[in-house]
Amino acid sequence: MVNVTINGMNVSVPKGSTILQAAQRVGIHIPTLCYHPDQSIKANCRVCVCEVEGNRLLQAACSAPVFEGMVVRTNTPKVLEARKTIVELILANHPQDCLNCIRNGVCELQTLAEELIIRDNPFELMIRGYEKDTSTPSLFRDPDKCVLCRRCIEACSVVQSVNALGIEGRGNNAMVVPTLGKDLIDSPCVMCGQCIHACPVGAIGEIENIEQFLAAVADPETIVVTQIAPAVRVAIAEEIGMATGELPMDVFVNGLRQIGFDYVLHTNFTADLTILEEGNELLKRVKEGGTLPMFTSCSPGWINFCETFYPDLLDHLSTCKSPQQMFGALVKTYWAEKMNINPAKIFSVSIMPCVAKKFEADRPEMRDSGYKDVDIVLTTREIGRLFRQSGIDFSKLPPSNFDSWMGAYTGAAVIFGASGGVMEAALRTVYEVVTGNTLEDVNFTATRGFDGIKEATVDLNGLEVKVAIAHSLSNARKLMDQVRAGESPYHFIEVMACPGGCIGGGGQPITKRNQKRVERIEAIYLEDEGLPIRKSHENPEVKVLYDEFLHEPLGHKSHELLHTHYHDKKKKYL
């Protein structure tokens, strides 16, 4: 341990700690900008400078290691002046349009300006004049707002191993750009949106579909129907001033009615359906010697990743559409028929923790209902904005139930939101289908947790099924390289593009820390445990769907509406 004095307070910290870590121990807040708790130390913004006795120059608290007897001062006039100047210089290149910015209220630079009492910036405002990049349906880039912290680059390269972003130029002319300085759509970007969480400001954000939603609600002829992804409920609470997981589902449902949805249904319904289709697909592949290991196909960032980096392995992907797209195909066919509603009048909106879902909904093959299966996708953040816009007080809102025929769900669907959840849900069903026995304990805990790669072996009446789970694409890449080398020991691999699974998706409330993702995962399993039915094949409405419409898993109708195929993206630059 090393003894350090910070602002006159003594603290003992492990050797190798930084000033920033030591200060956190004694409750001293040092402002930061390029610092990210789950990334490497960059020390390029210099906002966290402090005075260290014996040093003429100010030291960056995020990178300076402590030493025995170190005396640090974090708020001397010299320090405060330096920090202020640094932020003023950053602001001198930063468009002053906070009022119109997607990150208004959740911006680290805005917070810094407030903390450092920035008033009359002595430096002339010089906007760099880059063009906004809106080439993808999921994400925009607004380089003029970039503060060059490079956190997005690390999210894209280290966490996701996608490497769509890099630095162009040097010094004053440096800028974060997609590969070869082209538009994002031409880069290997998989649209996972992890860069949005990494960005401290509004230089990268989701393409919003709020106006299309409001227009649909305003049209009395249009029937606005929604589906909610499993990971949304636990996180939406964070958008409306509640703790993670605190908003009850039925109150959330009423909130959605308040902002104009005519019918509130659940993606969980098609998550359960996915398990039946995908579980049976796995068994078929195992029995008939199909391509193994089979990969899950729920995560559109992951699908984009496969189509970009592993086009030779597309046969391994389950042909099941994601729950969002299964829902989209059914709501304008099965549900419309059952409700006696003209599908042409349905405006299908999905609420997702994801920005890649916006791209997925726009895929040309996702029109099996005869219409665009999912008209628009709103992220958890966009729904948060709509709730705030409508001024809903959730503490006083009475509960309301989901609407019928595609609103019922089980605990198995709920856990789709966490890494390992699809696997666990599949095992709950596959076990019972194969063995014919009732599963005493439905909890497959080996599939849970935040480890990058998890594995398990399940005994199905003598058939040993080996499974693996990866979240974050850098972890998926390890499993993929194994498959490509012909050395994969697994039958079934679940991949979620985002850290922690969908709860850490690119459309979720802005989350810097993985710790927040862990909290959301806990809330997901809590919800699962509280539900009376926890196995997908016991979902009563899914049973009705098979009885009346689909007839059997992997049947003719299923293939028409619920399954898809994948394409090599033929990206020129990786």
């Binding site: 890099g166 630095i167 162009e168 040097r170 590969t179 070869l180 880069s187 020129k572 990786l574």
Partner: protein
């Protein structure tokens, strides 16, 4: 041009991508996109990173440039000695402004930092060859060597 062959020569040199870029640029005057993509492959790095290297160094260019690169020192000693007048003469003579390339693809005008010839300023370099103590009146004659 066999840029693959040129790049591959530096495959096992530590930091060899920089030398490979210089070698290609010597032939082409700049680094076309396909060179960066190929270098990324050979040096086993993402294209985004290979592009970062190509745009980091001022002596490397990803924009097409002329056959002859004329650089004018923009450091203080040359500035005081009248670099601005030399620039004006170059721009007039070539019909382009700083940073541009002549339409026949023969000349490009660029700035450079100090090239260490401060004993006799202002200084320009053409394809790396320094011309010290240059006056606007000499420009036409110097350019004639390269026309």
């Amino acid at each position: 041009m066999d840029y693959q062959g040129i790049i591959a020569k530096y495959k096992d040199v530590p930091g060899g991508i920089i030398e490979a870029y210089h070698a290609v640029q010597k032939e082409l005057s700049y680094l076309p996109e396909e060179v960066i993509v190929e270098a990324a492959k050979i040096f086993n790095m993402p294209v985004a990173e290979a592009y970062g290297v190509a745009t980091f160094y001022s002596y490397l260019s990803v924009e097409p440039r002329g056959k002859n690169i004329i650089r004018i020192c923009e450091s203080a000693p040359c500035h005081i000695a009248g670099a601005a007048e030399v620039i004006a003469a170059l721009e007039r003579e070539l019909g382009i402004i700083m940073g541009e390339t002549t339409s026949d693809g023969k000349f490009t005008l660029e700035y450079t930092e100090c090239v260490g010839q401060c004993q006799s300023t202002p200084v320009i370099t053409i394809n790396g060859k320094p011309y010290a103590g240059v006056s606007p009146a000499q420009i036409a004659a110097i350019l004639a060597e390269y026309r």
